[in-house]
Symmetry: C2
Subunit: 460 residues, 2 copies
């Protein structure tokens, strides 16, 4: 980007780059309790960057910074903060600063702020709002979490569907209550039901006497209040929507969702998928030690249980291993290759389910493909591992056993890597949530069984 570097904070490519030691300047100013310098450093920054800085400095420095910067504090910084840091920051702010910060926020940002805060902090925020906004915020909180109702803003422009371009432009030029940002004018029936929308660009380039109905965009889609925000984000991305109306159960227009909020949701959904696939819960870098330990405990517990199952399989073949200890040496290779291949297939499946590209219409074709890929890669690595095994232990039979186990395990890895996530999805469970541990368990169990079983039959 070509932003000017201002006031000593280098913004490489226009994005605040905390790698380059800028943060140390801020740290110094905080330590010196130099409010003027803190202001100079932070003033040119975007609220999102100030939020990042607050997240990255320690809790002590955060408190001092907020004390020094207090009266300049902007509501948008709150919107950008990580949930747990936000709680802390709200607690540090003086009530009048908090009130001022909240009053400037869009209705959807206020709701976003409220839903993540402790109940005890709600009243401080709600009291800061004007009567009308307070009512709207309270109502928004009655919609399900992660729903379109929570995501929408109540500021929008709607006109009767039989209006002309001229009427609409005149209304906007005289209205004093237009939203800060809007990209479309919605057409509504007398019952307030949205029937279409017109872009401002089209409005500006059309003749005054043109009926709005003639210049409608064909991408119009509306959402219901309780629709899941993940579905909303998917639809924005799939259909290239810029804004879309939200309707109540009677079909009346009650709010608008804009693409920037949908993009943020898409980003959060991806984060969730990635962390869940790894069994890391809702983990974030700013979480504390105990919180993080607690988040990771459940899946480590599940993993321990499944690892014990795999161990029980090995225990069946204790006598075989005692006779031929080379098996214990090679065993983890089979497990590792199966786990890796399974994870590859699983990532493709979880992604395909998230983008709705993996459906009942093509699941069989994909399973067939994974079977063939598993067999092919199984054969390739069977040959490699067979040679390695023969060179290492000098036994052709042992080499044959590990080669055969490799093919079996990579085949099963492909099948379970696709099949387990698809099954979980069908059962209504988030496929990212549990797939990792389960796929690995299947490949461990099958891998150990195939390898040690074949060894028992063929080598003893």
């Amino acid at each position: 980007m070509t932003d000017d570097p201002k006031d000593g904070i280098q913004t490489e490519e226009g994005v605040l780059d905390l790698e380059t030691g800028d943060l140390s300047q801020i740290r110094k100013a905080i330590e010196a309790r130099d409010a003027q310098r803190v202001f100079e450093l932070l003033d040119p920054l975007h609220p999102a960057d100030i939020a990042d800085i607050l997240e990255q400095i320690g809790s002590e420095a955060r408190r001092t910074l907020l004390h020094l910067y207090g009266s300049e504090f902007d509501g948008d910084i709150l919107s950008e903060l990580d949930e747990n840091i936000r709680d802390e920051v709200v607690g540090y702010l003086r009530p009048e600063v908090l009130a001022e910060a909240v009053r400037d926020m869009d209705s959807d940002d206020v709701v976003d702020l409220l839903e993540d805060l402790d109940e005890s902090q709600h009243s401080a925020i709600l009291e800061a709002l004007e009567e009308e906004d307070r009512h709207a915020a309270r109502q928004a909180l009655t919609y399900p979490e992660y729903s379109a109702g929570r995501l929408m803003q109540r500021e929008f422009v709607a006109v009767p569907e039989d209006w002309t371009v001229g009427q609409t432009i005149d209304m906007m030029r005289t209205s004093t209550e237009l939203p800060d940002q809007f990209y479309h004018v919605f057409l509504v029936t007398p019952e307030d039901m949205p029937t279409g929308y017109v872009t401002l660009g089209r409005l500006l380039s059309s003749k005054r006497e043109t009926a709005l109905a003639e210049i409608l965009e064909d991408s119009f889609r509306s959402f219901e209040l309780d629709e899941e925000e993940g579905d909303v984000a998917y639809a924005f991305n799939q259909y290239h929507l810029i804004s879309a109306p939200v309707v109540d159960p009677d079909g009346r227009l009650v709010g608008v969702i804009t693409i920037d909020d949908a993009m943020a949701v898409l980003d959060e959904e991806h984060e969730e998928d990635m962390l869940r696939m790894a069994g890391a819960g809702e983990g974030s870098l700013s979480d504390g030690v105990l919180e993080t330990t607690w988040q990771r405990l459940p899946w480590l517990g599940v993993n321990l249980a499944t690892a014990i199952v795999a161990s029980l399989v090995i225990a069946i073949f204790e006598a075989t291993i005692e006779t031929l200890v080379a098996l214990a040496v090679l065993m983890p290779i089979i497990a590792s290759m199966g786990g890796n291949a399974g994870t590859q297939s699983m990532a493709v499946a979880v992604r395909g389910l998230a983008t709705r590209d993996l459906t009942s219409a093509n699941i069989w074709r994909v399973l067939r493909r994974e079977t063939l890929v598993g067999v092919l890669n199984g054969l390739i690595f069977a040959v490699v591992m067979g040679v390695v095994g023969y060179v290492w232990f000098g036994s052709l039979m042992l080499a044959g056993v590990i080669a055969a186990a490799m093919v079996i395990n990579l085949l099963v890895a492909g099948l379970s890597g696709i099949g387990l996530p698809a099954l979980l999805d069908r059962l209504g469970v988030d496929p990212a949530l549990a797939s990792g541990t389960f796929v690995t368990t299947v490949t461990d169990v099958v891998g150990f069984f195939a390898f040690l079983g074949l060894a028992t039959v063929l080598l003893l």
Copy 2:
């Protein structure tokens, strides 16, 4: 969503839901070669949904469908198709249909189409374009792949920076060449350098005599032609941009990137991260067997090499295992727990690096946290596994050895889960690319060494 179900295709929530058997209607129409019915079924659908259908039916059906639907084929469908299916589809289309389809596309979509196609298919597309568009497309292809220059569209509205609202509105109302979609008017110097932008909403609600300079948005950021598209997408999400100008090396405005394209890039980057973390390359559901085998081969190969390293560690302790075969039974539990804990930390790190929340400013704090989390979870599972081990094998010493190995391995897992991705990032390698295999190798090697080493010292 509240879209009407039309023509027999049920769109649950307004999103085409291929689970509900709608595809079978399309399949039937294709088999019956009923062009009229195909048209009825596809006509109400969004190009993105038609693209999804083309991806999900087999190659044979795809060919027939395109033959039947040919003359209705819309360029936007091409934009939405997966790369490898796109190649195939372009080959099936009659030249005049392809020409017609391409002429209607935005300049950024044409470039996107061209860059994924074989060189041999370029000329068919380029010839379909008008002289000016062809020149523009050729020029765009000279910019680096995945750069802002490839992502931008050349259609935008720019006016001199000293204009008023009235002048701007008059120009737009008389211009015949406005883009299909635009949200901002850019202000430029006489040298064509963009200095700010005004939203159309603000323009419409301001007095005619207001200078544009007075109603500038403060979120203005511009990008350079060769800036990476991932950085562009990050900036859009971080700073809530809706559109942003792209400038050439002389700072002149040459194009505009809009948020819908940035959202698509963000989505692709996530896909890349997830698949790379799993070692699945660029895999997609529509890839063929050989292509998929080939994509997954390299990381399976790396994994085999690293698994052999872990096996060599076990081989050191062959004599110990021979004496106490229970070790071979319990060994995979240590490896599995370490791998799991390492993957948890790694997912948090890869995500933190992608969102630029993990930086040199907080890496030490995060490493310290991971150490403590590793020790805490290590202690918890040491107790659990110690009890299990004692009950199972009746040896207090064996239980103690596995408990100690658990603590050591979970501690190392946390450190390497954060440290390895951070190191790769510092070395300029995508941290998602290689972390998975390497973290697991570290936990396997350390886990086996700790467990078998302690056993050798304490139990023999």
